[in-house]
Structures are given as C-alpha cells and as structure tokens.
Subunit: 123 residues, 2 copies
Amino acid sequence: MDFNAYDRNCPSRQLLDRIGDTWSVLIVVLLAQRPHRYTELANTIQGISPKMLTQTLRGLERDGLITRTVHAVVPPRVDYALTDLGRSLNVLVAELEKWAELHITDVLEARATYDARGEKEVV
Amino acid sequence: MDFNAYDRNCPSRQLLDRIGDTWSVLIVVLLAQRPHRYTELANTIQGISPKMLTQTLRGLERDGLITRTVHAVVPPRVDYALTDLGRSLNVLVAELEKWAELHITDVLEARATYDARGEKEVV
DNA sequence: CCGTATCCTACGGGATACTG
DNA sequence: CAGTATCCCGTAGGATACGG
C-alpha cells in the first residue's frame, strides 16, 4: 500500500480530486452524450460561472480528457468533446453512479439511525 | 439522465463528495487493512488535525461506512472498523486506484503536450 | 459567441489549548 | 487516550464587467 492521499503526485490523489470536483464530473457526463459548445454547457449547467466553466474545461483539456475545437467562423464556435481517455473516465463515473444508486438507501438509513440516537443522548 | 451534480440530495453527488474528500478515502483505505484506534489513525495520517480526524470519522460513521467501538477501560480505547457497506466502498476505491495507475501516463503525457504548446503560444 | 480580468466573500480546515 | 473548543487564515469560487 503506497497509496498516499495527501501526496499531490500520487495518481490516485489526482484522480480523486478530479472526481470529487463538481463541475468536472458534470461536464464529462454531459460530453459523454454528445459534444457541446461553450454556451450550451453554460446554459445546461445552471449555476456555473464563466470563470469556473473555463477553468474546469482547461483542466480537463490539459489532462487529455476532452478536446477543444475552434471553428474559424463568425460568430465563433467552439466544440468540446470527450477523448477516448475521457470516455474511459466516464465509464468509471457510471460505475460510481451505479454504486450510489445501489447503496444510497443503506446510507440514508444509517444516517437516520445515527441522528435519532444522537437526539436521545443529548437529553 | 437525472444525474445532477449540484443537487446535494443526489446520491451521486454525495458519493462524489465523499470520494473527493482526502481524509475520508485515506481512512477507509487504512481501515480496509484492519481496525484502527483513534491515535493510530492520527499518527499514520500525518498532517491531519484532531478536528478533521474526528469530523471525518463522525461523517463516515453517520453514513454507516464505519463503526465506532468504545471499550470501557482505562485508559479509554476506541476502535474504528469498516462495515460491510464501507468494504463495498473500498472496492470502488480500489477500482479507482486501478484506473489511475493504468491511465496516469496518458494524463501526464497529455499535460506535457498541453504545457509545451502553451509555452510556444505565449511567445 | 467565447471567453478573460478583477474584485470580494464565505468557509474549509490548520494550530493550539484544554477536558472527561 | 480520545476527543472538544476556539481562533484564525488562505483560497476556492461567485458576481460582474469588459475584450477579441
């Protein structure tokens, strides 16, 4: 076990950071359906600021997870799409989703029990 | 697709938050080996503050991922261990690790390319 | 249309001191 | 030993305005 979660250079840590990031995952999931334009993403992902959208897209592009294609037309048109690597990451995300759906009831149940117990003890 | 990453109530989002959290994952991985005491965890996980350790443990316990066993002895002894649910989460984490190790070279390569390109353009 | 630049705030989380 | 209580700071990220 040389897995070290607070070592920034550890592959596991970097993947974990990426997957823990709200916007990254959401963008990957959207692009898994089909390529999207910048504004499409901005509109679909309500609540994201242009700053975060650009920042996240750049990060994903830098990691080779998505491609950025600029079409030399007026008005400008930029398409974002998943790479093969991005698609393989999307497979992982899908598995996470499956786990979450499968076990969410257990988690909610555990929470209810935990919280109820807490109330009694507080008295 | 009813997956909504900025909806706190979405199971996927909650799992993603948990997995993106440095300390949670590290603790789960440690407990996957064997149960640990509070101080053991504190010593092994260098850099974690008591505040974060307790907070993370409580969160994991609340979600039913770990158990907290207090032994009525002096000095106090508290053991933390994975539940079945926690073990199934650990399986996921192991898969993430596998993906990370498998694809990290691709990512690093992509970054090197991206950064090199950037330097040229900057001129 | 597709971004960048700037400002600003909330809060996650570290350090530390103390207690049952 | 196994935590809690308190203070405090850095920074992620939202809002906004503007540029190519």
